[in-house]
């Protein structure tokens, strides 16, 4: 063996010594213990077979690679959204923990940053006027995070709604939108909640609340929020017929209710 293999030789020698020691120990056990004899080893074949696992073990479950994941967060306590990630920054809006419908107030998460003291701030899309506005809230004021893979596109020109999941269209329907004097606002929004089993036939069987607000009907009860809902006048669709809300035929809103989770981002263009 070459000189350069001295290390390997030492390792090999050490392994040999270890193997010999293990063998010697094994022999000692066999000799010293009545139960650990060659015959008992043969008898081990009569032992019951080991139990199979009760679980069907799947492979590790990787997250799907998707470019359309969006996060929402619930507002855990009343908080002031600020213009930048600092308690010294100007106030943008006061956020409550619940919506006018009595559901948890959700905000869409669009980023995060730390202030000089190392505190974590979350950049969120806000349900305020002017529309599409964002602000910063301390992470401590937010609660549960949720994730969605869907995105709703509202095309005001073609009067059509398209829901995409992981980038693929899974739903399309004709819509009614705001009249010229009460236009449906354009911008980036999100679904805040879902309302069902209410009494009013005007909204059809199901309504989604969005973060969009009418810039003209600011004194509307509840703050003039734009909804996406059914209708009791399906013959008007598609058309520019509403006070700013997005109307769908009842079978379409029920289908959308099945496919679109709360928290879904909404683009109105």
């Amino acid at each position: 063996m070459a000189k350069g293999n001295g290390g390997q030789r030492r390792v090999g020698g050490a392994l040999g010594v270890a193997a010999a020691a293990i063998a010697a120990a094994g022999i000692a056990v066999l000799v010293s213990s009545r139960s650990a004899s060659l015959s008992s080893v043969e008898g081990a074949q009569a032992l019951p077979a080991s139990s199979p696992s009760a679980l069907t073990v799947p492979l590790p479950v990787r997250l799907p690679r998707s470019g359309t994941v969006a996060h929402w967060a619930s507002v855990r306590r009343d908080v002031t959204a600020r213009a930048s990630p600092s308690y010294r920054a100007s106030a943008v809006e006061e956020l409550a923990t619940t919506t006018p419908e009595g559901t948890a107030n959700l905000v869409q998460v669009v980023g995060r940053a730390r202030d000089r003291e190392g505190r974590l701030w979350i950049h969120v899309r806000l349900p305020v006027l002017p529309n599409s506005r964002t602000g910063w809230v301390p992470r401590q004021a937010l609660g549960v995070y949720g994730v969605v893979h869907t995105h709703l596109l509202i095309d005001l020109e073609r009067l059509r709604a398209t829901l995409r999941r992981d980038g693929r269209p899974i739903f399309r329907a004709p819509i009614g939108v705001g009249r010229p004097e009460w236009p449906t606002p354009k911008g980036e929004f999100y679904i805040r909640d879902m309302v069902t089993r209410y009494r009013s036939p005007f909204f059809g069987p199901l309504a989604f609340g969005t973060s969009a607000r009418s810039s003209g009907l600011t004194d509307w009860p509840g703050g003039g929020f734009i909804g996406i809902h059914g209708t009791d006048e399906p013959e008007l669709l598609p058309g520019r017929v509403s006070h700013g809300c997005i109307r769908l035929r009842n079978q379409d809103i029920l289908e959308l209710g099945r496919l679109m989770p709360v928290g879904t981002p909404v683009t109105i263009r």
Binding site: P60, L63, T103, A104, L106, R139, Y145, S214, V262, G263
Partner: protein, 237 residues
Amino acid sequence: MASNREELWSTSDLTLGELDRDGAIRETVERVSGETRATFLEKAVVGGAALLGAALAAPAASGATAKSDVAILNYALTLEYLQAAFYTETERLGAVGGELKPVPRQLGAVERAHVTAIKAALGRAAVKRPAFDFRGVTEDQTKFLKTAVAFEDLGAAAYKAQAPRIKSPALLAAAISIHSVEARHAAWMRFLAGVTPAATAFDQGKSIREVKAIVASTRFIVGHPKKTSTKNPHFTG
């Protein structure tokens, strides 16, 4: 790690009503222990991991092998939900990087597989997934690693303590196959955190009561946010 945990977590008690908004805990309790236990818990002030407490009461209360194994499996499922949600949220938010970047991806994939397997074994008896509020830990490098160490240590200790109580040999084999993986995770996380991976020659298990107290102290298990309503909407129409 004890001081780190104290720094991360503060203790808080919740009532069952506040905690169990979707009825998952009550469902478990009623399934394994009967109405009396559920009524007791309803009135009691319980920790944030009351779901684990439900499993704690089950074997003694039911006395039936199948029921006690189901309770233990649901207890394991709750811990797996917690771990899987923790790593999944961390991976999705993408705020943890550097040498820790592969951790949530790899551990999350394994914990999700555990959830899938246990849920399949339980079928309709599986408890529902609770909601989790990780309070910024999934967005903080240091807190994430400390919590990962604590969770993996906890997972290994929880399985270890339950193993002797499992009646079915097939379920025991399954539990041990998960336990050893949790122990590997624990060693890996401890190594990354600069903590001795195996500091003792023999590990101690942790009882359900101990695990429950630790999980409750995190305040990570919360009620699902209310996202639907039946109130008459006031949208502009």
